[in-house]
């Protein structure tokens, strides 16, 4: 028990979790936007858009996140000069957010697509009969229902995103949990098990509520037909 207390005094564990939560928050936001754009492209009548969106999803679904993160630094930053700030720490944070967003958007797109499949054809037919255009029927009729139908897979994606935010270590984000954990083990190998338990239960505490909320929302928001 003393081990735990001294660890908390010595290292700022909550701050590291906060970095992961910030990474998750921004990546969730951007990947949601990108995911919606992708799914609209995937269901649009324009074949080139469909193919590009399909290729995008296929690419990121089959590519390890670690490689993407390394590429954000050595490819996007070093070669393409994609830079957000002169301050390195801020810059790497946002590069990691971009990497996570690009990766997660593919899964958001897949979740939304399974949600779109829950919308009965009649809804789209009715929308067309009322004279709505593709964008109108998509944004006013289909997507709102699809979103409600895909709460569960989206929640799952969010949980995966929170866990994946630890991989930001590969993009030189040195303040997040897995980096802090390595550092703590380096200097306090005597309490290695306590260190692991701190971080493991930190994630359990963060993830169980997301899971419960997802379950609650997917039941609550499910479109009764």
């Amino acid at each position: 028990m003393e081990g735990f207390i001294s660890l908390f005094q010595q290292y700022n564990v909550p701050a590291a979790f906060l970095v992961n939560l910030e990474l998750t928050f921004w990546s969730a936001l951007f990947s949601a936007i990108l995911g919606i754009i992708l799914v609209l492209m995937r269901i649009s009548p324009v074949s080139s858009m469909r193919h590009v969106a399909g290729g995008y999803v296929e690419f990121f679904k089959n590519m390890p996140l670690t490689i993407i993160m390394v590429f954000m630094v050595l490819g996007a930053f070093a070669q393409l000069k994609l830079s957000f700030s002169d301050n390195f720490q801020t810059n790497f944070f946002w590069l990691a957010v971009v990497g996570l967003s690009l990766y997660t958007a593919a899964f958001v797109c897949e979740s939304l697509r399974s949600g779109i499949n829950t919308v009965p054809l009649g809804q789209a037919e009715a929308a067309r009969a009322m004279g709505l255009s593709f964008m109108q029927s998509a944004t006013l009729i289909i997507m709102p229902q699809a979103l409600r139908g895909s709460v569960a897979p989206l929640g799952n994606t969010l949980i995966a995103l929170l866990k994946n935010s630890t991989v930001a270590a590969a993009a030189s984000v040195a303040t997040e949990t897995s980096s802090l954990m390595s550092e703590m083990i380096e200097f306090r190998p005597d309490v290695i098990i306590q260190i692991f338990l701190i971080f493991a239960f930190g994630y359990v505490i963060l993830i169980i509520p997301i899971g419960l909320l997802t379950t609650f929302l997917s039941n609550k928001l499910a479109v009764r037909r």
Partner: protein, 282 residues
């Protein structure tokens, strides 16, 4: 009912296959690390450090490797009796303690902290922390010029902290998993310098075909030793190793090995300390 028995049989077959595969994979996994006793010496080196220890075309090359070969030869082993194993920084103590290797030459600095866990022979080289910059960059002449610049080092190493605390408070740090990533970042211009021990930098600069250079003003001393297991016979073993190193320095073999490793960079080891007198562990 027949349906069920067929299914069962299938299941059982599947399980058996799984087990067999698991065993095969397990054996294969251990096979590479299995102990092969007899008349061989197992040496831990780095596999990923150009100029010091690097695995290439099925053989190994670099300064550490040359020194290791020389020592092993002097101890009475032929080249074919040397088994090289990878010794990542964080596993060096453990590998010595559980007998995975007989000795380690992997940029292993002699420190009091480490002496508690393992014994050392040597030193065979005195490195110093230095900076590597782009060949056309003359603005950085030492660590004090790094204020407002960007510096890359390897995750978990303390060298970047030394620069930040002692020389340049305003330096921005980037951590990468390996020096190759740092060198790539340096080439592309997102960082201005890379810091670690000069001999490692010289090896990297040598691999860069003249695009990178070492500043050449080391500001710390790191005594590279030969790590050996702490036991009753370690003193005797260390004495033998030290004699071998001394022999290597005398014959000029040592200098040739350094020149080979840092070809084309004009690198000279810090003459104040090199070649060192190996007297550790005796």
């Amino acid at each position: 009912m027949t349906q069920r028995t067929t299914m069962r049989r299938w299941l059982r077959k599947g399980l058996a296959a799984l087990c067999a595969l698991a065993c095969a994979a397990g054996v294969a996994a251990c096979g590479s690390g299995g102990s092969d006793d007899g008349d061989v010496i197992k040496v831990g080196i780095k596999f990923d450090q150009p100029g010091l220890g690097f695995k290439k075309s099925g053989t190994y090359e670099g300064f550490d490797v040359d020194v290791a070969r020389y020592i092993a030869n002097q101890l009475g082993y032929t080249d074919s009796q040397i088994v090289f194993k990878e010794a990542p920084s964080k596993q060096r103590e453990a590998m010595l303690q559980n007998g995975d290797v007989d000795m380690i030459l992997a940029t292993y600095s002699i420190t009091d902290e480490r002496k508690k866990a393992v014994d050392f022979a040597g030193p065979y080289f005195v490195a110093g922390q230095d900076l590597m910059v782009r060949a056309n960059d003359d603005s950085i002449k030492g660590p004090q010029d790094l204020n407002g610049k960007r510096l890359c080092s390897v995750t978990g190493s303390t060298s970047a902290k030394v620069v930040k605390d002692r020389f340049a408070k305003e330096v921005q740090l980037m951590e990468q998993p390996g020096y190759a990533e740092c060198a790539t970042a340096l080439l592309s211009g997102i960082v201005d310098a890379v810091t670690t021990d000069d001999i490692i930098l010289a090896g990297l600069a040598s691999a860069s075909r003249g695009k990178l250079k070492v500043v050449g003003k080391p500001f710390t001393e790191e005594y590279y030793g030969v790590g050996i297991k702490k036991d009753a016979g370690s003193k005797e073993f260390a004495t033998k190793i030290n004699a071998a190193i001394e022999e290597m320095e005398k014959t000029g073999e040592w200098e040739r090995a350094i020149e080979n490793a840092t070809e084309g960079t004009g690198y000279r080891p810090n003459p104040k300390y090199n070649p060192p007198k190996p007297d550790e562990g005796e």
